[in-house]
């Protein structure tokens, strides 16, 4: 079931998730920016259309509120020369 969810998320995000893992990117950002333990950060990465993974990946607004007082700065894809 979890795998299916990931696949659906992949569909939502298109090919950007074909090789990169947006959940890992978000977890890393939460750990680095909010000094949260990786296990806790995993639980803050929520799936779904309005979940924190999509919010962080699309980066419509920054910072992204991932709960528990943690807000992470994201980068808008296509806005930086050289990524």
């Amino acid at each position: 079931m979890r795998f299916l969810r990931c696949c659906v998320l992949g569909l939502i995000l298109g090919s950007s998730t074909a090789h990169a893992d947006p959940k890992e990117d978000l977890v890393k950002a939460v750990v680095d920016q909010c000094k949260v333990a990786p296990d806790k950060a995993q639980s803050m990465a929520t799936p779904g259309r309005t979940g924190t993974i999509v919010q962080f990946t699309l980066c419509v607004a920054s910072p992204v509120d991932v709960g528990d007082g943690c807000k992470v700065v994201c980068k808008k894809p296509g806005s930086n020369i050289g990524g």
Binding site: S15, H19, A61, P63, G78
Partner: protein
């Protein structure tokens, strides 16, 4: 017999389960395939803006100008491989139902509609590839994200939307870039970047399918007795640093950029060399109280060769001077504060102030400004206050009041003249990012 029946039932159950499993696998495969087959993801933005501009001039009645404008873009992104990605934006901007009476050659949009005669025109604002053969190095080529750079994103509460600080050269530049991203820490990033934007002088004949290339070196200035010039491409170099998750601010951004081009033709008889340096600092969410502060400081150094002869004018003009050949230096500042009001019931709206200053000979290539008048390239002072109200995730409305008191006229050709005009403007801007 009973055992046989039970065995048969058990076997059939296993077979059914296997069939179910296979079905699940197939469904997953189908989803996976759909994901891979859809190699592009899409996003974009929509913006509509209303302005009520008032122009005051000594001894004259106030003039008012109302504007309704539409701006938008469709972004696409593809990651065919983990080491390269492609980005693009098709953008457009327009006035609502514009009817430019008295302007030769224009018919306005009252007669506008999709037509075969338009030859399929669309504006490609970005289209570039990032190729990262090794973790710390990226090669970029194409039409680059050089517009909408900082601090323009702050007013709408967005993440950074462009690479070049907007005071440097807010024009859609094509080019090649080398970006070095040395690993300096988990919550820090540093990008050292060199961008070459080569110039082209191609004249394409559609009838003969041929090209003529203008000479690149020793181009005559067009002024008798003046030396020839050599053109140098646009060169830019940047240092882009970010530190996130500190107690000082949620994000600290520092950018330095230099940009230079030599002897670029403004007119056939006039060439201009420009050197700009910009420093930008941004403190986002200072001490986590919702306050963001930013300052952008830019210097411009303009040298010109040759002159433009204006019919009826008593003297030839050049870049920023009323004489052949010239050299002028200027500077500009943008500074601002934005504060997120801690009112959850109102979705944490923001209040902001911004101050802009430019010296007499300051030039700013701000081609993508949303403002109703020369706000960010003012030679004098300007300022605004604004209120940003989030309506839904990705949907905001910003209302603001702007004022400007230019001491000198804007423009590149000729010496700036004293200005007696004052501008004030009220605006409302609805923006959707999707």
């Amino acid at each position: 017999m009973r055992k046989l029946v039970l065995l048969a039932m058990a076997l059939s159950g296993t077979a059914l389960a296997a069939e179910k499993e296979k079905s699940l696998e197939e469904r997953v495969e189908a989803l996976e395939f759909a994901s891979y087959a859809s190699s592009i993801s899409w996003s974009g933005y929509f913006q509509t803006r209303y302005d009520y501009l008032t122009i005051k001039q000594d001894g004259q009645p106030d003039q008012h100008q109302v504007m309704h404008r539409l701006l938008g873009g469709i972004d696409f992104k593809a990651n065919p491989h983990e080491k390269f990605s492609v980005f693009g934006r098709v953008a457009f901007g327009k006035f609502y139902n514009n009817n430019p009476l008295g302007v030769p050659g224009t018919s306005g949009t009252f007669s506008g509609a999709r037509r075969y005669a338009d030859d399929g025109k669309a504006y490609i604002e970005r289209f570039f590839i990032n190729y990262t053969p090794i973790d710390w190095f990226t090669f970029t080529a194409g039409r680059l994200p050089t517009v909408d750079g900082p601090p323009r994103h702050i007013l709408d509460g967005r993440p950074r939307l462009g690479t070049y600080p907007s005071q440097v050269y807010a024009v859609s530049l094509d080019g090649y870039a080398l970006t070095f991203n040395p690993k300096i820490g988990d919550n820090q990033s540093l990008s050292l970047r060199y961008v070459l934007s080569p110039l082209s002088f191609m004249q394409v004949s559609s009838t003969q399918n041929s090209v003529n290339t203008n000479i690149y070196e020793n181009i005559p200035t067009g002024v008798p007795g003046k030396e020839n010039v050599s053109v140098r491409d646009l060169n830019s170099w940047m240092a882009d640093y970010s530190l996130t998750g500190t107690s000082v601010a949620r994000n600290i951004g520092l950018v330095y950029q230099g940009l230079k081009f030599e002897n670029l033709g403004i007119t056939p008889a006039l060439r201009m060399t420009v050197v700009k340096h910009a420093a930008y600092i941004e403190l986002e969410d200072i001490a986590q109280i919702g306050l963001t502060a930013y300052v952008s400081y830019t210097t411009s150094d303009v040298k010109s060769k040759g002159a433009q002869i204006v019919p009826g004018a008593p003297f030839p003009i050049s870049a920023l001077t009323n004489a052949p050949n010239g050299s002028e230096k200027g500077h500009g500042v943008i500074g601002g504060l934005s504060y997120k009001l801690p009112v959850d019931a109102l979705k944490t709206p923001s209040l902001g102030v911004e101050y802009v200053e430019g010296s007499k000979y300051y030039i700013n290539f701000e081609r993508t400004s949303d403002e109703a008048f020369s706000f960010y390239d003012v030679r004098g002072t300007a300022g605004q206050v604004y209120y940003l109200q989030p309506l839904l995730p990705g949907l905001t409305v910003r209302v603001g009041y702007q004022q400007a008191k230019p001491d000198y006229t804007t423009g590149v050709l000729g010496a700036p003249r004293d200005s007696k005009i004052e501008y004030s403007n009220v605006y409302a801007n609805l923006r959707a990012d999707f």
